[in-house]
């Protein structure tokens, strides 16, 4: 009212539209990603491939084929086995490392700086490195452990576990730094009280620390398990899904189907089923996380 006349007005509708305006570009990107996703779902009902560029609608035929195909069930088994084993190993190791680093010994302080090194190296580079180390003839592991040149880390029996090992090498630090952040955010008082009471270490860990740390651990578990279900890079570099089908995870299988064999519909069917698995598992884990967060908030407050 400098000047004393009516200043410009902004209607309520325009005010309320403001956040939408800011979200428009992101929504466009979202649609740009959701459109191919929807297209992929559509593919699962076609017999679309590079050799059949004019696909026909085939209904549920792809699903029926996939569900009766041993190769699919094998890849589902490989995927779930890998995901559970890797997540479990990484979680246990990650919690252990976090607790050890939390004691803030000198060694811990030095190591903490390089903890994330494997995590920041591209999984592909890590896998390439491990592939060289796993080589039976001139790999350094066989040499160091005196395994001779006949022991093969990547044979049909061991390949999946070697992949788990490499995954744990890369991603255990991920679990560790999340849990470490959790441990460091815990209130000090209950632990001081229990130390005064003379409670033993394990009791304190199980009764006090674990419930309060659960939310942090669960966040790490959710990220790891989801990522493990769609494992691709490491396996593709280490074994390309072999030997045979020993390490053919669902995403590797879908890659072979759709990119190498140009069967887009089959690859999409694999992926849509994997997407459903991930969606269901994620839902359950997030529910668990919400409960744990509520409980942890209760035990702190």
């Amino acid at each position: 009212m400098v000047g004393g006349h009516q200043p410009p007005t902004v209607s309520r509708a325009r005010r309320q539209f403001r956040p939408y305006l800011l979200s428009i570009p992101a929504t466009v990107v979202l649609i740009g990603i959701l459109y191919p996703f929807a297209l992929g779902v559509y593919y699962t009902f076609l017999n679309y491939s590079a050799t059949n560029p004019a696909p026909k609608f085939v209904g549920l035929q792809n699903y029926i084929y996939v569900f009766t195909d041993a190769a699919f069930w094998n890849s589902a088994r490989v995927t779930v086995t890998f995901a559970i084993a890797a997540t479990l190993l990484e979680t246990v190791l990650g919690i252990g490392i976090a607790l050890l680093l939390n004691r803030s010994s000198l060694i811990g302080k030095i190591f903490e700086k390089v903890l994330i090194l494997p995590l920041m190296i591209a999984p592909v580079i890590a896998a390439v490195m491990w592939k060289l180390m796993f080589n039976p003839q001139f790999g350094v592991l066989n040499y160091m452990f005196g395994l001779g040149s006949t022991f093969d880390f990547l044979n049909a029996d061991r390949a999946l576990w070697s992949v788990v090992l490499v995954d744990a090498w890369i991603y255990t630090p991920f679990v560790a730094i999340l849990v470490l952040a959790g441990v460091r955010s815990l209130p000090k008082e209950p632990f001081e009280a229990s130390a005064v009471d003379g409670a033993n270490w394990f009791y304190v860990f199980r009764r006090l620390m674990l419930p309060m740390m659960w939310p942090y651990i669960l966040v790490a578990v959710i990220f790891r398990f989801m990522d493990c279900l769609k494992i691709f890079d490491i396996i593709y570099v280490l074994t390309s899904g072999g030997p045979g089908d020993a390490t053919k995870s669902m995403q590797v299988g879908a890659y072979i189907q759709s990119v190498l064999n140009f069967n887009y519909s089959m690859g999409s069917t694999y992926m849509f089923l994997l997407w459903i698995i991930i969606y269901v598992v994620a839902n359950q884990l997030v529910k668990l996380l919400n409960k744990a967060q509520a409980r942890a908030a209760g035990s702190e407050g």
Binding site: P19, Y20, L22, S23, P25, A26, L30, I33, L34, P36, F37, L39, Y43, L93, L99, L100, L101, S104, S105, I107, G108, K113, I116, L117, M120, A122, P123, V124, M129, M133, Q137, F138, V140, W169, I177, L178, L180, A181, G182, V183, S185, F191, A195, F205, M209, V219, L229, F232, D233, M250, Q251, Y255, V259, Y264, G267, S268, Y270, M271, W275, I278
Partner: protein, 286 residues
């Protein structure tokens, strides 16, 4: 008495030593492959498969992979791959920032219908199996000529960079008191100026952290360039030194690996303070 009474603290003698040993064990396991990559990168072609720890180190391999010498020798153009990766990743991060900052601000600052579902859908990029989107994108790109182009790569890399930028920054905007901007409005600044003057400087650490972190993940991505380009990227090109079927250059692979791993690690060190919040998409505050 003990300063910090966290579990384990009391047993400075036995438990402490065992704990330190366990840590040393882990870090031996954790650092050995990296060390081994360095050693391999310093070996001559003659030594690459014959020696383990005794050899005459040379920096030749780094020079080879970065110059035309490597291209003539192996047919792999690593230098171009680096440049392409830098271009694609920086482009993807830039696009994500330009598009993501307003969205993150809207979601963090206003309560509006659809904001939760927008945020959730953006996050689901992160957890969806990539091929579900990439197979159709591969078909589309071939049809509309985006195959093997930076524009195409920057577009699909949004799957990697966008959720990080939006989610990390949303938690920053949520943590920032609204009254700071309100004070600026009453000082006579328009909403845009209030945002630029007050909000943006305060979330600068978040912008830096999310930008660097999403750059790292875009840089480390393998599947997108593998499927959607011929020219490749740093990750795809490194595997080419292994020579699918032809001559394998292990020492060059290692040298390229070191060069490819260095930028993410250096970037990660600069944002170490914000790493936890970033890696968990704001779910865990570091």
């Amino acid at each position: 008495m003990a300063k910090e009474l966290m579990p384990g603290q009391k047993r400075v003698t036995t438990g402490g030593i065992l704990g330190d040993l366990a840590l040393v064990g882990w870090f031996a396991f954790s650092l050995f492959p990296v060390l081994w990559m360095f050693l391999l990168a310093l070996k001559t072609p003659a030594e690459q498969t014959t020696t383990f720890f005794q050899f005459s180190p040379t920096l030749d391999n780094f020079i080879t992979v970065l110059t035309d010498r490597g291209r003539t020798l192996t047919g792999v153009d690593f230098k171009s791959a680096i440049l392409l990766s830098v271009l694609n990743c920086a482009g993807a991060v830039l696009v994500s920032l330009v598009i993501g900052i307003p969205a993150a601000y809207a979601a963090g600052r206003f309560k509006f219908k659809g904001s939760d579902s927008l945020m959730f859908n953006i996050l689901s990029f992160r957890f969806a199996p990539e091929l579900m989107v990439i197979i159709p994108v591969f078909v589309i790109f071939n049809r509309i000529g985006l195959f093997d182009t930076p524009v195409g790569m920057i577009w699909v890399l949004q799957l990697v960079t966008m959720p990080l930028v939006v989610w990390i920054l949303r938690s920053y905007f949520q943590d920032m008191p609204e009254e700071l901007e309100q004070a600026a409005l009453l000082d006579g600044y328009t909403r845009k100026r209030a945002f630029l003057m007050v909000a943006l400087p305060l979330v600068r650490p978040g912008i830096a952290a999310s930008a660097l972190l999403s750059f790292i993940f875009a840089w480390n991505n393998y599947m997108f360039p593998l499927i959607l380009t011929n020219a490749g990227s740093i990750t795809v090109t490194i595997t080419k030194f292994l020579g699918g079927g032809g001559q394998a250059y292990y020492n060059l692979t290692a040298a390229a690996g070191v060069l490819g791993a260095l930028p993410p690690f250096i970037l990660a060190l600069t944002i170490q303070r914000y790493l936890v919040q970033g890696l968990s998409f704001g779910a865990v505050k570091g």
